[in-house]
C-alpha cells in the first residue's frame, strides 16, 4: 500500500483549503502532481486510486483527468526526462537537429528510455519558450538556447548527479 508522509498529507490539506468547501475535486490536478513526484515519476493505477481516496472521488474521476493532461506519465520513465519542444518556433531554430542529436548520443527515439533507466526522450508541443529556442524541459526547469555542446553538458551533469546520489 502506498501512502504520503505526514508532511505531504499536510500539503494536500493546504491545497484542498484553497477551494470552497465541498469542492475538493478541484485539488485533483495539484495532488496528482505531488503523487507523480512522490511515487516514482509516473502514475500507476494504485497511485491514482490512492489520490481518489484522499479526495473522496471515484477512481474513474481521477483516471479521466490523468489521461487528459500531457504532464502525467502513465508509464514508468527514466530518472531524467528530456522533454524537447518541436513546435513551429523551436523548429525554425533547429529543434529537429537537437532531437536527432539526442538519438545519436543516447540511442533513444521520442518515447523511449535508455536501457540503464537514466534518460527518457519525449517530444512535446510548445512550452512557451519560443524566444529562447531550441529548448527542453528537464524536471522543474527549462534548458534553453540548446546546442549539441549543451546537450553533452546536460547529459554529463545528469550522470554526475546520479553517481553522487548513489
Amino acid at each position: 500500500m502506498i501512502k504520503f508522509s505526514d508532511d505531504r498529507l499536510k500539503v494536500v490539506q493546504q491545497i484542498i483549503a484553497r477551494y470552497p468547501k465541498g469542492k475538493q475535486k478541484s485539488a485533483v490536478i495539484p495532488v496528482l502532481h505531488i503523487a507523480q513526484k512522490e511515487f516514482g515519476g509516473w502514475l500507476s493505477t494504485e497511485t491514482m486510486d490512492y489520490v481518489a481516496s484522499l479526495l473522496n472521488l471515484l477512481p474513474i474521476e481521477v483516471y479521466e483527468v490523468a489521461t487528459f493532461y500531457s504532464m502525467y506519465n502513465l508509464k514508468p520513465v527514466g530518472k531524467y526526462m528530456f522533454e524537447v519542444c518541436q513546435t513551429g518556433p523551436c523548429m525554425l531554430n533547429g529543434s529537429d537537429d537537437i532531437i536527432k542529436y539526442i538519438y545519436d548520443k543516447l540511442g533513444i527515439k521520442p518515447g523511449e528510455t535508455t536501457s540503464d533507466g537514466m534518460f527518457t526522450l519525449k517530444t512535446v508541443e510548445c512550452l512557451g519558450a519560443c524566444g529562447y529556442a531550441p529548448m527542453m524541459q528537464m524536471g522543474k526547469n527549462y534548458r534553453e538556447h540548446l546546442t549539441k555542446e549543451k546537450i553533452d553538458m546536460i547529459v554529463e551533469e545528469c550522470r554526475n548527479n546520479a553517481a553522487k546520489n548513489n
Binding site: 484553497r18 470552497p20 469542492k23 475535486k25 478541484s26 485539488a27 485533483v28 490536478i29 495539484p30 496528482l32 502532481h33 472521488l57 474521476e61 479521466e64 483527468v65 487528459f68 493532461y69 500531457s70 504532464m71 502525467y72 518541436q86 513546435t87 513551429g88 518556433p89 523548429m91 525554425l92 531554430n93 512535446v124 508541443e125 510548445c126 512550452l127 512557451g128 519558450a129 519560443c130 524566444g131 529562447y132 529556442a133 524541459q137 522543474k140 526547469n141
Partner: protein, 452 residues
C-alpha cells in the same frame, strides 16, 4: 523610445521583491481603488481606457466586466488565465517571472472592482518555477496587509491562490480552464451560459489574461482617459509582443500601439532585423493560430498602406490579405524556411491539443497533419492541396470552441499565400527533400488563386 506602462520597472534590481516593488510605487492602485473609488468606478475607468483582452480575442475588458451577473449571496470569482500556450507566445511568463507583484496588484484591484473575495491564477503546469515566484509574492503581499481580511481597513476581503495545470493548450480557452480548475478534463463548455453568468462552480466569473489584469494597474493609477491617449483608434495603450523565429533579438517587447510592423522588425529598439543577414519571407504576427502573411503583405496592406502594430491594421484586408493581433506571439520566418514544414508542425500541435469533443476538430486535425506530412516528405498528390482546403473549411465554425478555427486558419493561410510552395513540393519531391523553396514565390503572392 516608446512609453512602457508594464515593463518600465522590470530592469530595477530585485523588483521581484515586495520592498523594492513598493518603493518603486507599487500597490498605489490598490490604495487608490479601495480608499477613494467604488467598485463600479474602477470598472468605469477600465471601460474608458478602451483596454482589450490581451489573451488573443481582443474583447473589450470593461464590457466583459460589465456583463458580470451580481445575484445576492452568490460568490463571484476572478480567474487569471496564465495558461499561456499559444505557440510564439511567452509574454505572460516574462511578466510573472520578473515582476510578479504587478500581476498580484492588478488582481487585488480587479477583484475589488468585480467583488471577488477568492481569486485564482490558473498557470500552465510547465511553468512550475514561476508558481514559486508567484506564491512568494502572494505571501509578501499578505504579510504587508494587501491580502486577507479587511484590506486597508476598508472591509474588503480577498485571497489569491495559484492553481497549476498539467499540460493542455485547450485550458487557455476560458470554459475549458474553468472545467480544469474544477478538477475535470479540459473540455470547453457550450456557451451560453457565459462565465459572466455561470462560471467557476456555477458562479459568475470573469476570466482575464495576465497582461490584461496587469494593465489595470496603470489604468487605475493614471485614469482610463490617460491610458486611452496611447495608441491608435480602438487599439489603446501598450501591448506586450513576444518576438521569436529568425530575428536578431528575440524577446518580449512592450510597444505603444502606433508603430509600424516594419519598424518593429527592423529597428534596433525591437527585433533588430532578420538574423544571419537573411531576408524576411513570412511572419505569423499574433500567435500560431492567426494567418501567416508573406513579407510584402506583412509590411504593407493590400491597399498599399504601411501596416501598423494595431488590432485594426494587422487585421486589415480580412483573412484574404490580412491577419490578426492575436496574443502578440510574433513568429518570423526567413527565406531559408519551409512554409510546408512549419505548417506541418502547427497542424501536429493542434492535433495533439484537440480535446476530442467535437468530431470536425478531433478527426480533421489528425487528417490535416497526415496530409501535410505526406506533402512535406515528397509523397503528396496535387489533389491533397484542395483536400486540405476542404478539410479546414469544414472544421472552421463547426466546433464548440475556437480551437477548431485556430487549427484551420494556419493551414488555410499557408495555402492561400504559398500555394506555389505546396505544388513545388508535390511536383519536385526530391528537390523538396534537399532544399527550400526560398523566396522564389514570395515576390508576387497576391496573384495566387484562392480555391473557392
Amino acid at each position: 523610445m516608446g512609453r512602457k506602462l508594464l515593463l518600465d520597472k522590470i530592469k530595477v534590481e530585485n523588483i521581484r521583491l515586495y520592498d523594492v516593488y513598493r518603493r518603486e510605487g507599487g500597490y498605489r492602485s490598490v490604495e487608490r481603488a479601495l480608499k477613494t473609488m467604488t467598485p463600479d468606478a474602477v470598472t468605469e475607468e477600465v471601460k474608458k481606457s478602451g483596454l482589450r483582452g490581451r489573451g488573443g480575442a481582443g474583447f473589450p475588458t470593461g464590457m466583459k466586466w460589465g456583463f458580470l451577473a451580481k445575484p445576492a449571496e452568490v460568490p463571484r470569482y476572478l480567474v487569471v488565465n496564465a495558461d499561456e500556450s499559444e505557440p510564439g507566445t511567452f509574454k505572460d511568463r516574462y511578466l510573472m517571472e520578473f515582476i510578479p507583484h504587478l500581476l498580484i496588484e492588478g488582481m487585488i484591484t480587479s477583484s475589488y472592482a468585480l467583488g471577488s473575495n477568492r481569486s485564482y491564477i490558473y498557470i500552465r503546469g510547465e511553468y512550475e518555477w514561476i508558481v514559486d515566484i508567484l506564491e512568494q509574492a502572494i505571501t509578501e503581499a499578505k504579510n504587508n496587509g494587501w491580502l486577507g481580511k479587511n484590506i486597508l481597513g476598508t472591509g474588503f476581503d480577498c485571497e489569491i491562490y495559484v492553481h497549476r495545470g498539467a499540460g493542455a493548450y485547450i485550458c487557455g480557452e476560458e470554459t475549458a480552464l474553468l472545467e480544469s480548475l474544477e478538477g475535470k478534463r479540459g473540455n470547453p463548455r457550450i456557451k451560453p451560459p457565459f462565465p459572466a453568468v455561470k462560471g467557476l462552480y456555477d458562479c459568475p466569473t470573469v476570466v482575464n489574461n495576465v497582461e490584461t489584469i496587469a494593465a489595470v494597474v496603470p489604468i487605475v493609477n493614471d485614469g482610463g482617459t490617460e491610458y486611452a491617449k496611447i495608441g491608435i483608434g480602438k487599439s489603446t495603450g501598450t501591448k506586450l509582443i513576444s518576438a521569436c523565429g529568425n530575428i536578431n533579438k528575440q524577446g518580449v517587447y512592450e510597444i505603444e500601439m502606433n508603430i509600424s510592423v516594419e519598424e518593429f522588425i527592423y529597428s534596433d529598439e525591437y527585433c533588430g532585423g532578420i538574423a544571419k543577414g537573411r531576408k524576411l519571407k513570412a511572419c505569423i504576427p499574433g500567435g500560431s493560430s492567426v494567418p501567416i502573411l508573406p513579407a510584402n503583405l506583412l509590411l504593407t496592406t493590400a491597399k498599399g498602406e504601411k501596416r501598423l502594430m494595431t488590432y485594426e491594421s494587422l487585421a486589415d484586408g480580412g483573412f484574404a490579405t490580412g491577419s490578426m493581433m492575436g496574443s502578440g506571439g510574433f513568429i518570423v520566418l526567413d527565406d531559408s524556411q519551409c512554409v510546408v514544414r512549419h505548417t506541418y508542425t502547427l497542424a501536429r500541435f493542434y492535433r495533439h491539443e484537440s480535446c476530442g469533443q467535437c468530431s470536425p476538430c478531433r478527426e480533421g486535425t489528425g487528417w490535416m497533419e497526415k496530409i501535410l506530412w505526406n506533402i512535406e516528405t515528397g509523397k503528396g498528390k496535387m489533389s491533397d492541396i484542395d483536400l486540405l482546403w476542404d478539410i479546414q473549411r469544414k472544421i472552421e465554425g463547426n466546433t464548440i470552441c475556437p480551437l477548431g478555427d485556430a487549427a484551420a486558419w494556419p493551414v488555410a493561410a499557408a495555402i492561400r499565400h504559398f500555394r506555389d510552395e505546396f505544388e513545388w513540393h508535390i511536383t519536385n519531391p526530391e528537390d523538396a527533400q534537399r532544399r527550400n523553396f526560398g523566396l522564389a514565390h514570395y515576390a508576387d503572392p497576391l496573384k495566387v488563386a484562392t480555391p473557392a
